[in-house]
């Protein structure tokens, strides 16, 4: 039983790490560190899944952890970092509507609102573990924070990062509220990868001139032009 308690303690600490990463994602202007913090956040998520697996023994959680590490810690950050190197955008210093300071304050208020809203909706009898409930609250908060990033940034590449961290929130929420079949989790990840691929490739076009963009697409072999070549 002490094992359970210590796992719960570890999970709580990981919660905090996730939130710190989210706060950093909201406020940083450096794209490269944005990517690494995102992969740190995903790694934390995987660690939480592992900890839950040790506690519950549900094999689905282990699989989720593996899938998360493969896709969100390795593939996607690597891909974005590569793209980012090519377009040579290091910082994103323009913001719509909200600057980072306001976003942080707003997200704080939102957390409270979500807390109260969820405490009404979710069946939290005194017996239910508060850990799961907190997981749900943090999951949705993470989503809203990601949404603020998506809406307040101007560069497409940072918007994508916001979307990705939103998706982390969904995974988080799903992990704590209920257990979904792995196949669905897996399909979501596939969807995520396609979306990221497409958006970043398109985004490369946004941040440069058109000719350059075409050259880039050719270089990535994404735009085949056989009839011209022959």
């Amino acid at each position: 039983m002490t094992d359970m308690a210590s796992i719960e303690g570890i999970i709580k600490i990981l919660f905090v790490v996730v939130i710190i990463a989210a706060a950093y994602i909201i406020s940083t202007r450096n794209i490269l560190s944005l990517v690494s913090v995102y992969s740190l956040q995903s790694l934390t998520l995987a660690a939480i899944a592992l900890a839950l697996w040790i506690a519950d023994g549900k094999i689905v959680l282990l699989e989720i952890a593996i899938v998360t590490i493969a896709s969100k810690v390795l593939i996607i950050p690597y891909f974005i970092a590569t793209i980012q190197e090519r377009i040579r955008i290091k910082r994103d210093i323009e913001f719509h509507y909200l600057n980072p300071t306001t976003s942080l304050l707003v997200s704080m208020v939102m957390m409270l609102v979500i807390y109260f809203a969820l405490s009404r909706i979710l069946p939290t009898a005194p017996g239910t573990p508060s850990l799961l409930f907190f997981g749900a609250v943090i999951g949705i908060s993470l989503m809203l924070m990601g949404m603020m990033v998506t809406f307040s940034r101007k560069r497409a590449i940072t918007k994508v990062m916001g979307y990705l961290s939103m998706e982390n929130g969904v995974l988080f929420f799903g992990m704590f509220v209920t257990e979904l079949p792995l196949i669905i989790e897996f399909l979501i990840i596939i969807d995520l990868i396609i979306l990221v691929l497409l958006t970043t490739i398109l985004a490369v076009g946004i941040d440069s001139t058109l000719e350059e963009y075409h050259n880039r697409l050719h270089r990535f072999h994404l735009w085949e032009d056989k009839e011209d070549a022959s």
């Binding site: 989503m143 497409a156 979307y163 939103m166 929420f173 669905i184 398109l202 946004i206 735009w223």
Partner: protein, 514 residues
Amino acid sequence: MILTAFVVATLVAIGLVAICHTNRQMNAVAIAHGIFFVAVAVAMLATVSLPVNTVLLGSQYFSIDHFGLFEILIAVVIFMLGAIYAGGYVESLIATGELEKGSLKLFSGAWCLLLLLIVLAFSADNLALFWIFAELTTILSAMLIAVLSAKENIDAAIKYILIASTAMLFSFIGFIFLFEVSRTTLGTGSLNWTELMQHAGSFPPAMMIAVFAFVFIGFGAKSGIFPFHTWLPEAHVKAPSAVSAVLSSVLLNIGIYAIIRTAALVHQTSAMTIVSPFILLFAILTSGIAAFSMLPQRNLKKLIAFSSIENMGITLIGLAIATPVAVFWVIFHVMAHAFTKASLFLSAGILHRQYHSKFSGEAPDDIRDVFRLQPLAAWGIVIGGLAIIGMPPSPVFFSKIFILLQLVGYSLGALLIVLVLIFIAAGAFGYFVITSFMQRESPESSEAPEASGQTGSGVPPLSSGSPLDFEQYETPLGMKIPIIALIAIVIVLGIWFPSGETAFISRIVADLRF
């Protein structure tokens, strides 16, 4: 079985597209693909007793009921006509250099795949699976928008992806909630629609409100509901017209379909009384924003796009009332809107080829002498426009009038507002058609803005540089047939209500337990 046939057909089509070399061959593949889908869907309608059981589909996650088949039929017909139309349209895009030859394969391949995904989405029984297919349709249709590879197109595509996908994550949260609800009440969690429908009556109302709220955010964005409608005009305007037709007639339906399904679940609990005023509020806001945006619109495609938003609002109004009659007409409206809007976008496509209007959507159209140059497209716009604003005896007229009649019993104030909005939208459409289509080719009118440009207003004259003599664009037959077919469908739908159709839609309403 059936789904396997669909999948295999699409794979074959994509394989053929990959080895094709000319546009004509690829287009033939796309048309054949469309015709195959229509044939299978019609065969299903004619022979199989609904709901299609799992043995025929080959997976427990899929099931086609009346509603699904209804949406599939709309989708496949519009895709087939769109494919026929796309042949000539794409040819012309390549001729003017707006579309690169290299991206032809991408276009045809994505087109076939999109149809498959839409059919799979409508036949998914599992809501999470449905969500994933819906999300993939967003990505693929964004690809079809970005295929023109102009900067504005990419911009619009990214905006579309980000807004729609961001919002769709919320609806996934909604489905997770739903799963949890079913898990706590049924013991084992399930997202299978048929199972949920059987037990929805025992779900706790408070949770169902949350479920609906989240799902509504997501799929509302997908179908252009306020406040997430901002992507819609841009995406629809900048896409190639064949794609615009599909976006507006089929992809918007996906969102509405999900909202109707979720509302059907909520309807069985007591939560509907709380939810329906909110649906009505957002429906009226959506229609209102769209109607007022239509009023000053000088760009044909943008006008049509906003009209889509307005019609989605009207659909939701019917859903908010949630009486069987209202839902019947909601479903009828979905169909009527789809065909009418497709005919409008396809006609607008011809006009765009004729006048080489920019796809930016900000510039006003410069339409002149339209009845001499493009009589078919002009009449297509006129008839389609009359149909979409609800002139009797168009199908939209019937759905609108019956939804409004149902609204009488719900709220008189809302009725008044909606009536005013419908009139504004109609007026905007009429004003645009009358002012632009009456324009004759006259040297004075084109010199006037240039003179004002010289006075130093700083604004570049809008029509300067446009040639006075438009060369007539030879519209190929392939682009004319779909428009004629769609207009014929619209007229037939308006004046002939076969008993089979009524029974079919009534069956959908019964399935949804409204």
